[in-house]
Subunit: 344 residues, 4 copies
């Protein structure tokens, strides 16, 4: 049986090159085409010497493929994708173009009208731990935002169980690769090194994804989420520290054990999410597709505190995308994305 032919649009960003790294060693598919505007015609091993073992040329247009990952920027991806969908290809979109169900909400955060509002309903929000059934049946996956993935996985069990009030704070700390390979002063080494700052303090566009998904899991309508992203001096990783008030009377005697059991059960059969015994470090998931989650309770203040760590390019982008592909194609869910994290 021939392998599924897979392509990557815009391989030259950090998400694209991470997709190439994972896909070139994937046991069940064949990476057959990679594109990139600025580097078309060059060997990928010359542009990205970490892929010294991969003998492929970056093309200006996609070759023959069955499934494609689009790593185009927000707002530009949809136009690349729609013709592919019309041609019957499966598509995993790394951008934010199809993540929000509400076109008006999308317009508010992305600054202009959605280019293909009629396609929104076709897309499945690709967190396999929550939406595996729909992922199996769809042609288009909207791969979630990095911050959104970490926060949603941290809050989902509590939201589903209805044990928290709707007023939630998500304080996230991210490595710099989440901001992409494009040059900006805020990614200049000397500005980030030995520094931490909050940014997008007036509102970040991944917040509505969190509201949407936690709202779907909650019985009581949309939560009220204060989301604050921070930039820290590392390349990869997101730690999300989530705070919510536990509803009176829910957690019973031993609140910490109660929430740990709740989380363990929720993720019991999810191979790539681990509920851990100690507060996790982003280094524990570096380069991998794993999520580590640590739920606890501040007994003095009655707050549920959930810590989650992901690699923003792994479970926060390329790793989750490959996991979505696996589910979509009926392959083993962890194929090609089960490597342990690099440590130290």
């Amino acid at each position: 049986m021939s392998k599924t032919k897979v392509g990557i649009i815009n391989v030259t960003g950090y998400v694209g090159v991470e997709l190439a790294r994972l896909l070139c060693r994937h046991p069940y598919i064949e990476l057959t085409s990679i594109t990139g505007r600025s580097a078309a015609g060059q060997k990928i091993a010359r542009v990205f010497p970490n892929l010294a073992c991969l003998d492929m040329t970056i093309e200006s247009a996609l070759g023959d493929i069955d499934l494609v990952f689009s790593a185009m920027p927000h707002g530009e991806s949809a136009a690349e994708i729609v013709p592919l969908l019309n041609a019957g290809k499966r598509v995993i979109d790394m951008s934010g173009d199809f993540r929000l169900k509400d076109a008006a909400e999308w317009q508010q955060w992305y600054g202009h009208a959605h280019p293909f509002p009629q396609m929104i309903a076709k897309a499945v929000y690709g967190i396999p731990e929550l939406h595996a059934e729909e992922i199996r049946r769809t042609q288009l996956i909207a791969n979630p935002g990095c911050y959104a993935t970490g926060a949603i996985l941290a809050l989902a069990p509590a939201a589903k169980a209805g044990i928290i009030e709707s007023d939630i704070i998500v304080d996230s700390k991210s490595g710099v690769s989440g901001a992409g390979r494009t040059l900006k002063l805020t990614s200049h080494f000397c500005e980030v090194d030995e520094d931490v700052c909050a940014y997008s303090v007036d509102g970040h566009r991944l917040m509505p994804e969190i509201v949407q998904e936690i709202g779907l899991l909650s019985s009581g309508g949309n939560p009220k989420i204060t989301f604050m992203p921070h930039l820290i001096p590392m390349s990869r990783g997101i730690l999300s520290t989530c705070y919510a008030t536990i509803k009176p009377g829910t957690a019973g005697g031993n609140a910490r054990e109660f929430v740990k059991n709740l989380y363990r059960e929720f993720y019991a059969d999810k191979p790539l999410v681990k509920v851990v015994e100690d507060p996790p470090h982003t280094k524990h998931v570096q380069g991998s597709n794993y999520t580590l989650i640590y739920p606890t309770v501040d007994l003095r203040t009655g707050k549920l505190i959930v810590l989650s760590v992901i690699d923003n390019l792994g479970k926060g982008a390329a790793g989750q995308a490959v996991q979505n592909m696996n589910v979509m194609l009926g392959l083993p869910e962890t194929a090609g994305v089960d490597a342990p994290a690099m440590y130290p």
Copy 2:
């Protein structure tokens, strides 16, 4: 007029060496004695070559001094200090031994009974922006904890004005020097580098300092503070992100302008605290004694969000201690601690 003779007990930790760095160039005092157990007898320039210009020998016992900084660890400092107080010396204690007014609370967080409970009332909690009058009159200053300084300065104006509910979250991100120079796995380069984690998730001993000081400023009794410290891969700096619900009806039409004005007025005559126009970076205060504060409001959720940055060894320790000394001795408040931050 002869200069005040100043000593440092335990100069060999990060707080001690930072005190030496500041004091050896202070225009109005004379650094005359430095002690350190492990390095006694050695030239400080050999142990700390950043002080190559300082020709002093580390001693095993204090020489003739008028005022001393004790950089002894928590629990050991009090015993060093009490004889000095009895001998009429002025003392600035860098440890937590005299920060909490309540000996029972102290025992709960430090793990044993307070060794000199009768001395607690003599100590002034040394934040000059809040307690300058008492600092002028005291013989003993309890120099605040690093996290506590950043959080208290961030919350003080709102607490004083009574515009926030009592349920407060302080999410702090700190560099590694706050954990000291002692060897531990959690300070090993390879464990911290490319990593972020939360720690002391079951309660950190600087939390009660924040509760105590914010409680003193609030009319409605003690606040309920959830405090979560995080370790990030940098040497110096603390960013505290503080969240509190604004009381209905308080902030009026333009809530963001309202809180900015409130903060600007509160710190109008404080030369070392700046209310800034943009979210601050820890790099902006690196190596300095400045605090930058940025208050804003999440208009969707009604949360006051205050960001503050300090250098944990500057305003969070040695810098504030020298500022306290200045106030105590009637010197210009900013003498020796007005150098701009090193950037980048």
Copy 3:
């Protein structure tokens, strides 16, 4: 056919845990036993959460194995290994105990008499690119030192071709993980961060390995190598910058092309060594078993300059060890160690 059973002695250091990371996903062997003194009885996933997917317990003694990696410290490894050799097991020794052919030289650098001088001749110095034939036939592999691997691979083609004078300078820059997980001030985050220094300036014990191996390749006897290691603020990676004077008349017209061709030919059939077109970065080999080499000539001064990059825990330790195992067992040389480097 049953898989070879493999064990790791002392899994709890950085080399040990990297071996576990590679071996737990190796397609042709089975990792059956891992030992560690301090952590015996604990789940490895609790001690090293990057291995959250690996359900093994750290033992105090080796179980049933066919081949073992010893990650014991220098000087302690030999005593662990000799009984295993006597019991017919294959052994790959990560320590320096069997790397030097000359017991007197060993004593000079390791500070005491070699414990098993009679075993030295049994060991093969495990660089598969140079000694594959002997590796296939041996029972004991002395896995090379990290610095030595990078320098030897950089210099081998020139030494073999006899185009350089015997006076060689190797200036190496290493990440901190090479110093191990043991606590020392020189691995404290705040001491390494934002810093670079030279160390072991009076002589480093990996220097004689380089002299031995380059001497074996050279026709004219032992080279005179000045080796200077430097510590830089990163966890993984070694860049070696090697300088040697090109013998008059050897390199002909286009000296740069001449040496590039020489190097390309030397490594033409070595899948894990790439001669690259641009000066390489350690980031290009991060987490991988690849070596990138860039030879060039300073035309003004007639110096051959060779840059090589490896991951000190990959090709510089665990990766090369697994590659050695593959060759020793007749498996495909790159099995389990062909993953591209993580970037960025």
Copy 4:
């Protein structure tokens, strides 16, 4: 007596802002005018919040000044400076425009003809430890390149004493701020972090400065210098590791003591250069104007090895420039640049 009025042209780069940091606290001069094209009209405290204490507006043109620092880029600085010189102002040029005495050499390295070759002879190469007399008498100082400063100070005593052969290797490791604040992929955080690389391997334009100055000190004509710069993941600091063969018979019995004494004597009365007892770290000079130098001998190979550390923005740029100004104006040499380094 009124203070000298000082200006900075192009304050918005890393060198410019470091000049502002030092000059705004200088005891004997007054910083009266700062210019910057992109940020003209803005408060410097808004653009560089580390200067929150400095109430100055960035201007589009220089105001009334007696002396000016030009932090314009190479090739653009000369045109700014010449009119100021003609108007009788003193000028310290941070660029490379007037460093090389030979206009043809300049053209070779800077890519076009020197715009004002007749002015070259007026400029003094501003290393006060070597050229104090000329600095006192000149109107124009060419402030040295960062790498050149570290290498020249490391080699000067040996070159002057004539104890080394002319074939010298300088292997330098620099922080990223040396590459400036301009955006480039090679300064992107994710490209530099966890990485080390060599660059400008075909020749770096600061090399001829080293050759020129070491040549002036040597009796035997120009040395043959192989210079290789490396970029390492830190913001500030340069470590230069210099290798040269000691001439037979020169260093006598105890070669290490011999060279240490030679270096100690050479720098005995230079307050900002320290010959140290242990291999120095760049962290020891971070944020300061000090140079630490450690000379030693590899007894096996007969090589002189000299390690020098500077802060590339301190002694490597702004600090040395202020020191030059002090000497030029007859002020105490260390005024405003004697602060100890920040550590850790």
